[in-house]
Assembly symmetry: C2
Homo-oligomer: 498 residues x 2
């Protein structure tokens, strides 16, 4: 034990804290790190709850949660939702040498929705495209993060979207965003300025977009989804004249909106003078047929299409596009909402190069093939290992909804899976209202960032989690009439925005 | 005249519109472009007002304004605030060959505040730093646009800010943003959640930040500025407990906040349980002494420092930093406001490389020298050519306030200067309240993106504009008692956000 370190016992934990280190948070981090490295805090040890350790140390709980979070990110600790934070099994090198942050792998298998295959990010092409942008961008454009696409980038992106998504547009209607979340933010402000108070969203749906609308001052109203998509009849009973939908591939149920519903939705918009925000978040990926055409192409005056590269390249690129009716662009400009909120002009130019050189579509084809195989492997593994479960939705996108046997305690399953280092999300995480008696328990399996070749292993772990959770809390099993405990809508388990 | 073009006469203008071109906007753009190229619309010709031409064509005014805007951006037309849009003098090549968009230079001289020297953007270094980021960024971080800085980037940026701005921080307190405008947006939401309804700002001040606070739901209260900075005594009379200030170099008056005021401001924050948002927008550039230390370093629990590369590199980089007290970070995370709003992880890593390699500071030294010379040249030219005008504020930053002779009609001067292709801004553009009788007329000269070596030419043009405007509207001249016509706070004339 170093002479200059002070042993502290708090909440049953002995830590050596170095008083020469500035803040208590840093002292605690160093103490935990050293304890793990030197083996005094052995692998598997459950650390005290943050509240208890904070009380023992006489500090705010924040200090402890922050120290835990840092050590988790460094790989020394393992955070398990609903359970204690534990010391992680470290490689021998780290423990033996007492080295700094050991190169511990992140969770090996990851079924959380929200990310594309980050390992497939086209680093070489993107670096080259960006290099050209930095070299060639006219100096004046370096001023910019305009919403309005200009010059060659505008024409390239417009042509691409016309060809792949059948959008209808005038070149002037293409605007740019850093993400669809950001776009919903400024669109909600524009519509707020036009007298809108409410926005309807699909229930269930991705929380990021509805939260952005809420932050911009709109009240969010959930409208149920069935196997044809949004219940337009129920939408018409609200007084919202603005709605966010995912017609190509509903998130999270995976349904593609039926032709009847599409027509009904457009008719609703015409009759109410309403606007549809089409969240085209993963429409590039359809595995059984050509991608469904965009709703925007059917009613360009009523539909705003929002897309981004967050699911096709990476959220870190921070680039999206929005096809707006002309009156909305005009409004945006006249409301002075167009400045400072657009993407980097360098990023725009780099992406335009990716598209113009064909690199973007080549990338989409490559990852599309990966995703198709990955999905097929998951489907096969589920059929093999989870006989009581059913996969729903279209063969598309980067996630699939999994219906669990009636009566399954989903939260228990999620906890058990997370404890097995298989993070995943409950369908309930995306609901606005608690799950009703007519809704079965379900999971949303995101396979975008799952490693290829390990689908069966992931499903085997999931089967284990299901078995464990049913052992832990035996249910009456298989009676569809059993009312599932309504689960409060939790925080979404995904990490990124669109 | 081509056979497939249809001559249209509207509002006294004869245009050939090609019916094979899709939208009317595009047809109009093509018609105007061809008219200018072929000389049928001669240089200097005043085009009809958009309203009149729209009425003549039977279309919405939007179609015309958009077509004009496009042709202005292509260099065929010249937009003049408060006057007609005119056909521009084109180089002989463009008119002779009828080529497509001619390479017409942008306004030659530009005194609008808001931009750094874009021609000095370190393209080679930035491309290299970004290339390394794309190559080396750990795959997991490609998920990201977190607000929270992690890993080596955090340490590099923290050390840099500690050294150059004397900030006090724990590493966990550094957060990242795409811009200070974005940071004010999420900070205002956090404070709104804490029960704040109001935010005080300096009057005059940069409109971007206060607009962001307003959009996030806070009421904006202006507090006057004098030659020591914000009038803290008047701030104390409001019931705001949140204020945005520019202590290092007040925008736009150029004042550096006095030591007394700094202490009074911190005392105000202590007494009211208030928070100061320190907008450190151009503190890197001080020409007569070392940069003033940050307010944050004096009271890290009460002050949030916001900085960005928008003034040091380019707004297109989209990167800023915010030094937050720990309780605010905790609040941000617990309010779930930290996701999806941070900068690109690639940009963060690239900037960290710029800093770590010393390239960033080398760039700052180089442009700092340029700006110092440019400012000195402007000061000399003003002394020589504008004897009745006075330059105020510290020898710092990228702009200088210019007091005009009493009784000068500032709007008239701005219009005259713009007509001479010298865009600049009135001090009134930044006021919350109309200019009072005690305030003299003034301009804000931004020299960040002015070309070096042409300072005298710019001031000569400004002198011409002043002379023209006083000829146009003779005033009683020189009597300080003449009450300036209160000018409504206009739209800011700058193009970018922080």
């Amino acid at each position: 034990m170093d002479v200059d370190r002070v042993p502290v016992v708090a909440a049953g934990l002995t830590l050596e804290l170095d008083p020469s280190i500035g803040s208590l948070t840093q002292r605690l981090m160093a103490g935990l790190r050293t304890g793990v490295q030197q083996g005094r805090l052995p692998p598997g040890l459950a650390l005290p709850p943050s509240r208890a350790l904070a009380a023992g140390l006489g500090c705010s709980r924040w200090v402890v949660t922050e120290a835990y979070a840092q050590l988790v990110s460094e790989g020394y600790l393992l955070a398990v939702t609903g359970s204690a934070t534990r010391v992680r099994e470290l490689g021998p090198a780290a423990t033996a040498t007492g080295a700094t942050a050991a190169p511990v792998p992140r969770p090996r298998l990851d079924l959380l929705p929200g990310l594309p295959d980050l390992a497939a990010f086209p680093r070489v092409r993107w670096a080259e495209a960006y290099r050209r942008a930095v070299r060639e961008l006219p100096t004046d454009l370096l001023a910019g993060r305009s919403l309005l696409a200009t010059g060659p980038a505008r024409h390239t992106l417009t042509a691409y979207l016309r060809r792949t998504r059948q959008v209808q547009e005038d070149p002037t209607q293409l605007s740019l965003s850093t993400s669809s979340t950001a776009a919903v933010g400024w669109l909600a402000r524009v519509f707020g300025g036009l007298g809108h108070h409410r926005i309807a969203v699909e229930d269930p749906s991705w929380p990021g977009l509805r939260d952005a609308a809420r932050r911009a001052g709109l009240e969010v109203v959930g409208v149920p989804v069935d196997d044809q998509g949004l219940r337009v009849d129920l939408l018409a009973r609200t007084d919202a004249r603005l709605v966010i939908v995912t017609p190509a591939h509903q998130f999270p149920t995976g349904v593609a909106m039926s032709a009847e519903r599409r027509l009904a939705l457009i008719e609703w918009a015409e009759q109410t003078d309403g606007t549809v925000l089409e969240d085209d978040y993963d429409a590039e990926f359809r595995y059984d047929r050509r991608p469904v055409t965009s709703l925007q192409g059917m009613a360009p005056d009523r539909v705003v299409l929002m897309g981004s590269v967050s699911k096709s390249l990476s959220p870190a690129v921070q680039l999206g596009w929005v096809i707006l009716p002309q009156w909305l662009i005009l409004r945006l400009v006249s409301d002075d909402l167009d400045r400072g909120v657009g993407p980097s002009a360098l990023t725009v130019a780099a992406f335009a190069t990716m598209v113009a050189e064909g690199w973007y579509e080549r990338h989409l084809r490559a990852v599309g093939l990966t995703y198709r195989r990955r999905r097929a492997a998951l489907v096969a593994a589920v059929a093999h290992r989870l006989p009581g479960c059913a996969i729903g939705g279209a063969a598309a996108g980067l996630h699939l909804p999994l219906t669990l046997p009636p009566g399954t305690d989903v939260e228990q399953v999620v906890r058990a899976a997370t404890a097995l280092e298989l993070p995943l999300a409950s369908l309930d995480d995306y609901r606005l209202r608690p799950r009703g008696s007519e809704d079965g328990p379900g999971l949303v399996l995101g396979f975008g960032n799952l490693r290829s070749g390990r689908e069966d292993e992931a499903v085997a772990l999931l089967a284990q989690a299901l078995a464990e959770s049913s052992r832990r809390e035996p249910v009456s099993g298989g009676t569809a009439s059993r009312r599932a405990a309504p689960s409060a809508p939790g925080k979404p388990r995904s990490r990124t925005a669109r």
